[in-house]
Amino acid sequence: MKKSKAALLWDLFATFFKIGAFTIGGGLAMLPIIEREIVDKKQYIPKEEIVDAFAISQSLPGVIAINSAFYIGYRIAGVAGALVTAIGVILPSFITILAIAILFDTVSGNVYVSKALTGVKAGVAGVIAVTVVRLGKSVIKDWFALILVVLAFVLTTWFDVSIVIIIAVGALAGYLYYQVRRMRRHDID
């Protein structure tokens, strides 16, 4: 028995709305939940394909959770599918943040709100620092990567160089470095 297209789209929307509503802590926290809902529970797409979806979502620019939603929605139900999954995953945070933005002025002067937020900022600084170390271990495998990390860090943090330029230079450097290395390897062979 095949579901009607409208029923499928509604189901995709509802599934991604749930994913958006119940994952706190950003896109990466969503990926295992997307996998559980889409692959294990609903069996919309096979496991191999979700691995592709996540790999591609992380290599493209943009919000990882939204990229994954677009990709999975598109694979299951075309452009309409991509739109409903993305709207589904965005809507809960849109509503929550809108409510906070409207209310924030009335509570921002409150001393307890400010103490709690200072605590969050300090904790988040710690969590991100640990993320940097973990990512650094997997990304910095040679001098090339180390130089890029240090250079990009100094330029963004202290010199306010435009991020567009830094990303473009990183991409170009990666392209040239690995092309040259490949050519050298061919010479030795």
């Binding site: 509503a21 598109y74 605590g119 969590v127």
Partner: protein
């Protein structure tokens, strides 16, 4: 028109936003503070709030900043703007998936972009540190309350299996007592 420039700025952020939420925070911060759209401290507040509310950090930031600058429609165009470039890119790639995955050009560019995004994430850590425990007037003297929370979070995230969200919530509770 403020709505058009909001849309364009967030579309730009969506287009250059490599490396996920924390890296994108650094990009958003640069774009917004350079334009004077939002102050450092308020941006730090919304970035902190994004950590304890549902949804992707970058979307939360877009929605909040859009609202502060131009009300409901501001939050609407900023959120659509930050998502739209992905829509086009993801559908293109999903359509030509095999070629993208096997492309040597894409793979070697990514090897240069990935280290850069690690640097952006490190920059986001510095930003939160400056906004919580580092005292800019006297950099040698930290604010002890938040500094203790920072160290606690680093230890918890390194040596225990406590969920990151729980660490952030515990930091919030500790903030009420220590900050």
């Amino acid at each position: 028109m403020i709505l058009i420039s909001l849309f364009l700025v967030f579309a730009k952020i969506g287009l250059i936003g490599f490396g996920g939420g924390y890296a994108i925070l650094t990009i958003i911060q640069q774009e917004l503070t350079q334009r004077g759209w939002i102050g450092q401290q308020e941006f730090a507040n919304i970035a902190a709030i994004s950590q304890i509310t549902p949804g992707p950090i970058a979307v939360n930031a877009a929605t909040y900043v859009g609202y502060r600058i131009a009300g409901f429609w501001g939050s609407f165009v900023a959120t659509v703007g930050v998502s739209l470039p992905s829509f086009v890119l993801v559908i293109l790639v999903a359509h030509f998936i095999l070629k993208f995955k096997e492309s040597r050009v894409v793979a070697s560019c990514m090897k240069g972009i990935r280290p850069v995004t690690v640097a952006f994430i490190a920059s986001a850590a510095i930003f939160f540190a400056l906004e919580s425990f580092i005292n800019i007037q006297a950099p040698l003297f930290v604010n002890w309350g938040p500094f203790v929370i920072f160290v606690g979070a680093v230890l918890a995230a390194t040596f225990t299996k406590i969920n990151v969200i729980l660490i952030v919530l515990l930091s919030m509770a500790a903030g009420l007592i220590l900050c």
